[in-house]
Symmetry: C2
Subunit: 485 residues, 2 copies
Amino acid sequence: MSEDHQELGITESKEHATGDWYAEVVQKAQLADYAPMGGFIVTRPRGYAVWERLREHLDGWFKDTGVQNAYFPLFIPESYLEREKDVVEGFDPEVAWVTHGGYEELEERLAVRPTSESIITPFIARWVRSHRDLPMRVNQWCSVVRWEATETKPFFRTKEFLWQEGHTAHADLAGAMDETMTRLDQYERLYEDVLAMPALKGRKPPHDKFPGAHTTTTIETLMPDGKSVQAATSHYLGTSFAEAFDITYVGEDERDRTAHTTSWGISWRAMGALIMTHSDDQGLVLPPTLAPKQVVVVPIWQEDTKDEVLDYAADLAAELDEAGVRTRLDDRDNRNPGFKYNEWELKGIPLRVEVGPNEVADDELTLVHRPDGEEAVEDRAGLVETVEDHLDTVYAKLYARAEQTLEGEIREADSREEILGTIGQHGGYVKTGWCGDADCEDPIKEAIAAEIVMVPLDRDEEPIHDECAVCGETATETAFWAQTY
Amino acid sequence: MSEDHQELGITESKEHATGDWYAEVVQKAQLADYAPMGGFIVTRPRGYAVWERLREHLDGWFKDTGVQNAYFPLFIPESYLEREKDVVEGFDPEVAWVTHGGYEELEERLAVRPTSESIITPFIARWVRSHRDLPMRVNQWCSVVRWEATETKPFFRTKEFLWQEGHTAHADLAGAMDETMTRLDQYERLYEDVLAMPALKGRKPPHDKFPGAHTTTTIETLMPDGKSVQAATSHYLGTSFAEAFDITYVGEDERDRTAHTTSWGISWRAMGALIMTHSDDQGLVLPPTLAPKQVVVVPIWQEDTKDEVLDYAADLAAELDEAGVRTRLDDRDNRNPGFKYNEWELKGIPLRVEVGPNEVADDELTLVHRPDGEEAVEDRAGLVETVEDHLDTVYAKLYARAEQTLEGEIREADSREEILGTIGQHGGYVKTGWCGDADCEDPIKEAIAAEIVMVPLDRDEEPIHDECAVCGETATETAFWAQTY
């Protein structure tokens, strides 16, 4: 048993060694393992179940708002990627190339999709003929590959990652911009209502937009080490892709017009941000919305009370299960309660129900919240409602804690030194006036690897200061600075 | 409009040009398009929605019976595939190879997964330690690539295809064999209860097993051109993969033991078989279980009755929708009813509801079954139940028709000449006595490209004839012969 105990415990500290701690939680909570090739991971059932649930939420909202799923080929011919170069510089440095099929060399190299604009857009162009075909919205849940030479960090930095990519075409700017914001709002809702994480919405500064995009909007979330994560993006692409790939349609006035397009995506990085935000030195913490099991029932018995306690526990678990509460009854004979507590704390079950002879005698149950260990004794009567209330409380606690952290981590600065000092000392976000010149980012980037992660969505919003904190020229926007993942 | 009409109509004949007709249905019903690279297709929203629904059914049954989903890397290092060669000859001739990442040549080539035994089994070996970890069941829904040089036939023959692959480890033969049969039964259930297709269950003859498998079980379905499709497979792999990849566990008796493994899969070929079986010269026919829209409501009005008819139709559609019947209201102004009938027949909506002034006056509706055009007039009261009954009837009609076809297409033969003559003339299945020698297949294969597609599941079943129909030696099994896809 001692070997198991060692395996179960988290040995690294979230506060002092965030990166090592994160890697340990991911592995010991059995979310993922490292694959034999650097940059790749195996998503284990406990990890994949979280992704599946996240996908279900978002996919439901997409479908409720006119999105249809489709599936485009894994490979994109090199000539198709080239065509995209009219618009963007391209993904060449990051592409994994298929050069051989069986024993034959291919006539044309095939890119493993790094993103699918260049294969999806030509098909949208083929399918759209009249204004009646618009808006057209397709989405796919798939994996993409980007050959970036970085250290593997499960869900944050991997050469292959799971994501969703939506691609839409609209009759005009207003329709496309509306779409862009609808998806951004759905991503925000995912963070707030499902991942228990407050999120900032904004625009990327012009020099950090998606290549070819007119506007890139972003969801930013703050990690416990004070760095910002780009947690989802939604792009208004203007007519640039439509022009490059010839998406034209016959308008109501019978004239040929060019469509406006959007694309938007979220990857399993959302899972990384989730794990990083809520988990602790005991292991994984998950909100009840996404936890594969929401409740673990642990019976505590002596030999003479075994039957009655086990019956009581099994009955509880069955009632919860029937009501749709995802419940695990841990009635293993060969593990003591302490071991079980540790194991399910490590693996992130949000709520523990303990029942022993006292609970049986008094017709009660003891509930323990995973995030903070808070205990409550409640009546057996009204079980399902009681448990659901406690699950809601656990969710609210997680959200409140993350929100409190975020609120304390948005500061202001009005000089270069103040930006450097504030982020250098505290991490988090610093708001400044900004002139709009990309060059003003350079000295901050060089000194402390911080950058402008976003500006306000509203282009007409007055900057918080009159002058750019870096160069002193007239400020045109408010910039949010942070170090990033 | 004439251009649209041309586009909408199926011009090929199912009976006389099955292949061309199939390709036309797939494209005009907007299920799939051909990708720019030969062998690849784009699965359009109408096609993908069918796949999603099929997946939901099967995935639910898998989860109810202990299967967990996971995700393994898209790429497999060449050395991992090599390791599998202890067991099987390998997929070398069919592998798409990634040789470059960005501008760099890789040190080791990576195979785009042709199937994932060689990457999944080592991880199962790592995760399984004790008998308490068994059975372990993982499944993934993904795409695989096999570089086979064949003409593209959407969903039947494509270099990349969507599928599900399940991989499990068990303590002993009984557990693993049980698993093999559980999955085969679930595939059968999918065909019978969801795809409206009767299916034959059997074993592949020893010379046609999955490489390395102890037993390969199969679902075979008959296509309208008289050929058999291998519609799903479930393999008992014995201990061969467990030995090659070292899946050992500590038994209850504390001794090290070798696990028994299985794998099982179904691909989008199931969709191909579905389309091929039920569709007709008017276009796509789908069972209500899988149809993205189950009912189309078509209002028929003159200028003076427009408002009342449209209101009545919208009200009907809303009531159906609310009850969970997937309903489309086609109230387009710019199309006449005949055009709409043709369009939704082509696109495979199982049930049409027509409402005109007469229906409004009598508080009725006219229902038309897609598969055979049968009409019924029903009361408006009890709408949802009425429609659900008709959808059930449509399902039953599809199943009955396919079953009748199958029943007439299983014949017997007891000589080589009779096999050749019977299959040559009628297609379908021919049952014979068989000695068990693979060589007896050769003359039949050479003459008419038919083979032994299965033998009975029960190894102890008496052969239908005492002698092998080909060589005349003692028969040990009954062989089912057919031409195949």
